[in-house]
Symmetry: C2
Subunit: 466 residues, 2 copies
């Protein structure tokens, strides 16, 4: 891996296609030299090597005298660059032809095409960021909602790394004490207080456990929170979905380019991405095809984070409660009971009865009219509240990466072994082994412990140019 850093790499860093401008990155030991060969411009008689970093220069990219483009050259000097190495960003006219011509010219002058994520990989190898920060760069680029974006930017800024780093630091202290014991093993002293170690391990285990639990939430934030709309036939399920879609369309349309026509049931509310799933009406039936539809509804209910159970406000309150119970949800899933068609009933009386009944089950009740769009804002509020309660963890840190999740699981298992060991009076050297294992798995997350294979897998999923 190390000797690949000797290469100078290049890639188009802006999205594919024609645009006003495009940016081509050139990075590595020969970056300034190669730029010197192909650029002529306003460097006031100085060689590019002599120019200070973080400066911009106007000029022309030339191939054997033939002008390819009028460009701006942004210079970054090691170590003040994204990668920590010498780096040049060429800002050219955004024609595909020009982008390709410049890229080919760079390659002919000694650079090679960068592999996916290679710039970020070098930033990691040069100590500009740790591994979990590097991984967050890819998440950040892929983030399509405020919530997913917030998780990624926190990770880039190092919150997660710090958390993991702290856990390791505590363990490291104990490891050294235990190793001190081993040096004096014939004297049979205990430098590392086993009770204090046990307390520390329990604390660490609790933190690891919270991080593991946050993975579910994290993924849900990334991929969208599944909200199932359930209810009897004709309760108004599809009308409700349409009201949401239409309202959000209008809001989204202020933001050009973000509308995704193909996924019609994804809705952003206050920065969270909700995945709305309209279902078949739930009722007893002998019709085999309808039965399949209803079985699918129950399947979807199982994976819902939130269920909006929509009922006709004219129904008796206990019938509504029956419906709630018939959903068969576990207590982690949030149910909101929506009394639809409130505009047609004696609203205060209906609400009072429904609230009394639902209160026993700890279920929120909202009276709405899907058709008239009444109280839809309250339904949205309930959805957002539900998510926000979910992500109130002690640290505020959310794990979204399967690799981190896996490492945390292993660290947790090692901490279990260590705790059992303390309980059974395991000798120091074996205990140290378990604790080192916890540290190893935590270190894998931030990249303090890593292999070429792990690195290869991580950066292969990046886009080229990053």
């Amino acid at each position: 891996m190390a000797n690949q850093k000797e290469d100078t790499i290049c890639a188009i860093a802006t999205p594919a296609g024609n645009g006003a401008i495009a940016v081509i990155r050139l990075n590595g030991p020969e970056a300034l030299l190669i730029a010197e060969k192909i650029f002529s411009g306003s460097t006031r008689g100085k060689k590019i090597k002599q120019l200070p970093g973080n400066t911009i220069h106007h000029g022309y990219i030339k191939d054997n005298g033939r002008v390819i483009d009028e460009v701006l050259l942004a210079l970054f000097r090691s170590p003040r660059s994204y990668t920590g190495e010498d780096m040049v960003e060429i800002s050219c006219h955004g024609s595909l032809y020009i982008q390709q011509s410049i890229l080919q010219l760079l390659i002919r002058n000694g650079a090679r095409m960068a592999r996916p994520g290679e710039f970020t990989q070098r930033a990691f190898l040069n100590g500009k960021m740790d591994l979990s920060q590097a991984e967050a760069v890819a998440d950040l680029i892929a983030s399509s909602s405020e919530a997913a974006h917030r998780v990624a930017i926190n990770q880039i800024r190092g919150g997660f790394s710090e958390e993991i780093g702290n856990l390791r630091k505590h363990l490291l202290k104990f490891i050294s004490l235990i190793e001190l014991e081993l040096d004096f093993s014939e004297e049979n002293v205990e430098f590392a207080d086993r009770q204090a170690l046990r307390k520390l391990l329990l604390g660490i285990q609790r933190q690891i456990s919270m991080l593991i639990q946050s993975f579910g939430t994290g993924n849900v934030l990334k991929d969208g929170i599944p909200v199932v709309i359930a209810g009897l036939p004709n309760a108004g399920k599809s009308t409700l979905l349409n009201v949401f879609l239409n309202e959000e369309r209008a809001i989204v349309s202020e933001m050009p380019g973000t509308t995704r026509d193909t996924v019609e049931d994804q809705i952003h509310i206050e920065g969270y991405l909700f995945r709305f799933i309209d279902t078949a009406g739930l009722r007893h039936t002998e019709d085999k095809i309808e039965m399949i539809g209803i079985r699918k509804t129950y399947e979807k209910l199982k994976h819902a984070s939130i269920v909006l159970l929509i009922t006709d406000a004219a129904e008796p309150a206990d019938e509504m409660i029956n419906q709630v119970q018939a959903l068969g949800l576990d207590n982690k899933q949030k149910i909101v009971l929506l009394l639809n068609k409130m505009d047609k009933t004696d609203a205060p009386a209906v609400m009072q009865k429904a609230r009394a009944a639902a209160g026993q089950l700890g279920i929120e009740v909202i009276g709405i009219s899907a058709k008239q769009g009444i109280h839809i804002d309250q339904v949205k509020r309930a959805l957002v509240n539900s998510v926000q309660q979910e992500i109130q963890s002690e640290t505020g840190i959310v794990v979204t990466n399967a690799r981190h999740y896996d490492a945390l699981q292993r660290a947790y298992a090692a901490s279990e072994r260590a705790l059992t060991g303390i309980g059974s009076g395991l000798p120091g050297d074996l205990l140290a082994q378990d604790i080192r294992e916890i540290m190893h798995y935590l270190g894998e997350i931030t990249g303090e412990i890593t292999t070429d294979e792990i690195l290869g897998n991580i950066f292969a999923n990046f886009c080229i140019g990053k």
Copy 2:
């Protein structure tokens, strides 16, 4: 138009979509102030207003304390910027969500979305480039072949503007002499030598005429040179096309991102874009549907720049000549006679006879085997030669813009009137009017003479962010 320059405008300048990085432009009198409000980073305690231009600063874009992204800020101070105004380029992570969030933040802080081409329009209004240079920016971004690119980059660098400027300068000299005459009109002197003026006008007219003629070539370079493959049924037309496509596919694939699967018959050869048109076999037929196909072939032949007439080498030479004449082409169109299936005949004898016959018509003959891919390189050479002969104009300047073509036509007509006037001894004041008209139309090209309507039309065709 003028007071719109008071606004501060913003736009995403890189192609739409997710990528490693994206660039957002902010331009105008408030650009530095708005940047100050949303950026916090490595400015060493200085306000952005105090920082020198052409420098890059690392930091964070924040919205009320919430970090939106880690970015690089490139600063340009008036007049050293693309537009000539204060300008900031924000280089952010290339997520659509981030791009939109930053754009909205800029707008909330007082910027407005730029109209298409508004940055370039301001560059024109601030005298950073003339109108034909501004128009070439759009051409450059759209250019997809080396030839189209070369025309656009020459125009951006001012070659065409200089040419037009020179013509106007000569005319201006005569205008002032004629106007001097008018001041002394009672004395009946002639300061402006009519013979010299006539000579100048003839020279100018010749240059305008060459520019007008180059328009055909220019458009062909931009849109692809139409090459019709004609011949009897089973002569090998489609085999030839496939050979070209397959050969060029391999070459094109070295250049990632340039393959356009949808237009299967566009081929780049030595930087020129050729549009290959395979046609129905030409033969006498009573079949009505086949007749329609053949009529279409003749239609396409009319618009071809080059016709590759492919015949079976086993046919008698005079039969080939008959076929050439049956094409009914005008003498501006180039014909290349391809003797196919040369691998199956007595090649030297066949070539000798064919060359003798074709020589009378001034037609090039190449013996090939489409199936075996023999001498395809010679066919390519002939195609490229044909284009290069076409664009050998005295000035090397090619007109590609319909607006310029139109203005040149009008300038030519005015020069005709002026010449007629000189011939018939037209008085100085009327002559001056014709000459001023020539200057007016030439000035429209470079934008010395312009209207808001002309400007609006031109920049509306730009992409946003340029």
